[in-house]
Symmetry: C2
Subunit: 443 residues, 2 copies
């Protein structure tokens, strides 16, 4: 692989949740997929590198990490507006997904990855269907992903076999950029026995688990009434939490659930734009973090979040936590940036590989331009990153030591081709016959 020198950038460092530092005028030396060194500007010999990126005036930071998404759903965005959760599933999403063909997943994944790259997002933890197509899209786009094939009890063991074959085919594929995971949908769509089978499968394949659970307090109440356990307790009882588990949402987590998640080492993926849009509960990020539960940020699918813009998500996380805790000090600038970088890496179990710019870390890097009028004057770059960023401020993106977007031009994705596919598929994908839904929401 070519050796790349990023020359004379500033470098963002968020060593802990209380500290943001910007190291001025640095050279980032990249050897293959990894950062070799970060030196004061001028100490590296450009002659040793195959390519030099002039980055004066740009801020280098770790590529953002989307810890919970259904990326191919970008193809449905705008089709389920102003509806509550049960109708969102039963009248919109699950009928719409009946339209999905394998090819859609490749192109939807590619469209969503393109949108993410343009926002500086380099890794996604994705939970969807036909995931071999999603994996192929990630392979082609040159990005990083943790991929799980969504399974319901109603799909039976056939679907589990698909899921297992997917793991065997794609684990560590694409130069190690693709990792895989077992992805049961949720306790309310998977029986306890099915969850146990998923846990066993994850053990035998040595993977983690990515699951929705406790999406609001209503689910917690219903689960307690039905079987005397909260959704999080169901995850424990079925062996799910014995595996490294990423719980999407946990909005209805009780204090005991939080303690349980911490004890089991599970992490939580937080998607607050979705929660507000669907009038769900807001997950208690402050309490989760205080208990030691790793929290990462996610866009969820674009039929609730509408975009794949993770900058907006981190901002809404901070705003919503200040609001629900009634403390303007909650989710400070440094803590918000920590959650968006090292915190999200840790939520995926990748804290030694991504989420920071340091020697030995993978070279997943976004170069940010804070020269726009909406940032001026720059009294406080950390505030600009949390509250002012527009995706257009992301200039150049590297993944695994390779430039995938240069000065806002995507190098690995043909935008025109992707947009043409989406336009051609638009009408077919928007047909909606509620009786033909792929699943029913009845927690």
């Amino acid at each position: 692989m070519p050796r790349i020198l990023i020359q004379n950038c500033d470098v963002l460092s968020v060593p802990d949740a209380a500290t943001v530092e910007i190291q001025p005028a640095r050279d980032i030396l990249i050897d293959g997929a990894h950062i070799e060194a970060i030196l004061p500007y001028g100490q590296a010999d450009p002659g040793r590198f195959d390519e030099t990126l002039q980055a004066e005036g740009l801020l280098a930071m770790p590529g953002l990490i989307n810890t919970h998404a259904h990326t191919p759903m970008v193809l449905f965005r705008g089709l389920a507006e102003d509806v509550p959760l049960a109708a969102w599933f039963n009248e919109y999403i699950w009928p719409l997904e009946n339209n999905l063909i394998e090819e859609d997943v490749y192109w939807g994944m590619t469209l969503g990855i393109a949108e993410m790259l343009r926002a500086g997002v380099t890794t996604v933890n994705d939970h969807y269907f036909h995931m071999h197509q999603a994996a192929k899209a990630v392979e082609d786009a040159g990005t990083r992903a943790l991929l799980g094939w969504a399974v319901f009890s109603s799909g039976g063991t056939d679907l589990l076999e698909h899921s297992a074959a997917f793991v065997e085919d794609w684990q560590n594929a694409a130069d190690g950029r693709i990792h895989t995971i077992i992805a049961p949908h949720a306790p309310y769509t998977c029986s306890d026995d099915f969850l146990r089978m998923c846990a066993d499968l994850a053990t035998s394949l040595n993977t983690g688990i990515h699951i929705h659970a406790s999406e609001n307090h209503e689910q917690t109440r219903i689960s307690l009434a039905k079987n005397g356990k909260t959704p999080i307790q169901v995850l424990e009882a079925t062996g799910i939490l014995d595996r490294p588990t990423i719980v999407a949402h946990a909005c209805g987590a009780t204090p005991e659930d939080i303690t349980l998640l911490a004890k089991c080492g599970a992490s939580v993926a937080h998607c607050p734009k979705t929660y507000m849009k669907l009038a769900m509960d807001i997950a208690p990020v402050v309490d989760l973090r205080a208990a030691g539960v790793p929290v990462g940020i996610g866009t969820d699918g674009a039929v609730s979040n509408n975009t794949m813009n993770l900058w907006e998500v981190l901002r809404i996380m901070a705003l919503a936590q200040k609001e629900i805790t009634r403390e303007a000090e909650s989710l400070s600038l440094s803590e918000t940036l920590y959650v968006a970088t090292r915190g999200s890496a840790k939520a995926l179990g990748m804290e030694n590989e991504i989420g920071a710019l340091e020697p030995g870390y993978l070279a997943d890097i976004a170069l940010i331009d804070l020269s726009g009028l909406h940032h001026q004057p720059v009294h406080n770059a950390a505030a600009n990153l949390v509250y002012n960023m527009e995706t257009a401020d992301v200039r150049t993106v590297l993944v695994n030591g390779r430039v995938v977007m240069r000065d806002r031009q995507l190098l690995t994705i043909n935008e025109r081709e992707v947009v043409a596919y989406a336009a051609a598929a638009r009408e077919r994908l928007s047909r909606r016959l509620p009786e033909q839904r792929i699943q029913t929401y009845a927690p």
Copy 2:
């Protein structure tokens, strides 16, 4: 003034809070400051016009209206992060404003207007100091504004005389683009007698009033304890509400306050990013609108909102109302777009002049490009406008029948000059001596 033809655009129409229509392939005929006609594409003779704007594939909509701002505060953005309201005032804003010189207001206003134009915002209702400088900035930038000189009791009647002179100098200035208003700061910084003087002044000058009130429930409780009246009731008792009044925030409004605001014909400016950021209460937009109180959207100052991006504000309004009402149906796409257009115009008493694209309305127009990846596929343009917009999607902006931004190039503002001023002033403006504050927050 030159006659302009906008050719072959789609036109957004939000006739009421339940309806969004997009008229495809229209020509917009502009005569002087006003829209003369909107015709199907091809019916207008380009030869009759001095200039033709090719707008195929663009969506024309009314320029956005910022109903509450302190625009020059962009110069302080990022200087008061993660602090609650009382500290925000006493330890940050009011000490920082001690640094302000007249020239800062001109350049801060110009910087903020530039940022607003780049986001498609064409009108601002501004409440600040040294407003003759702000007015000059509006005059030079070619935009529209309603301007009020902020006054406190502590400034005495001298400040009221300044304010009156400002109204006399600038009412209907700049080809009618500037209107003026009396702007007492708030019931907690203005005595009842001072508020009565402001109301009398507004009567004698025939202007409205723009005031902060009821910023959270704590202010309501303290006001009730101190003088048996809510802040809104204080506005009534002092004659303020006898004038056309724009109340910024009303987050602590009681049900009786809402009835009173409706009865008096007062409107509310809503700035939800500020409320969440400072952990204030969220104003009850749904209840206010149900009672018939006009509600408009605002950025407030950039030391709480961080940017002048009104797209983000309208989105957060919708999300926050869904969350606090626990109804995903609240602030639907059409209602949100209505509040952002006709609703915000009505909040400023300008509903027959701005906020809609119709013959006879002022030609304040934003041309929007929905071709970005983050909008694809476009199943639902209304959803894209509410939940997906980036300011970079705004291509071209007209105010008062004149092109002020063309394909993202500002034509009336020298960006380099503005940024240079902000950079040069940055350090001076960031010095902070709490004992030298211009005012004290003690509601």
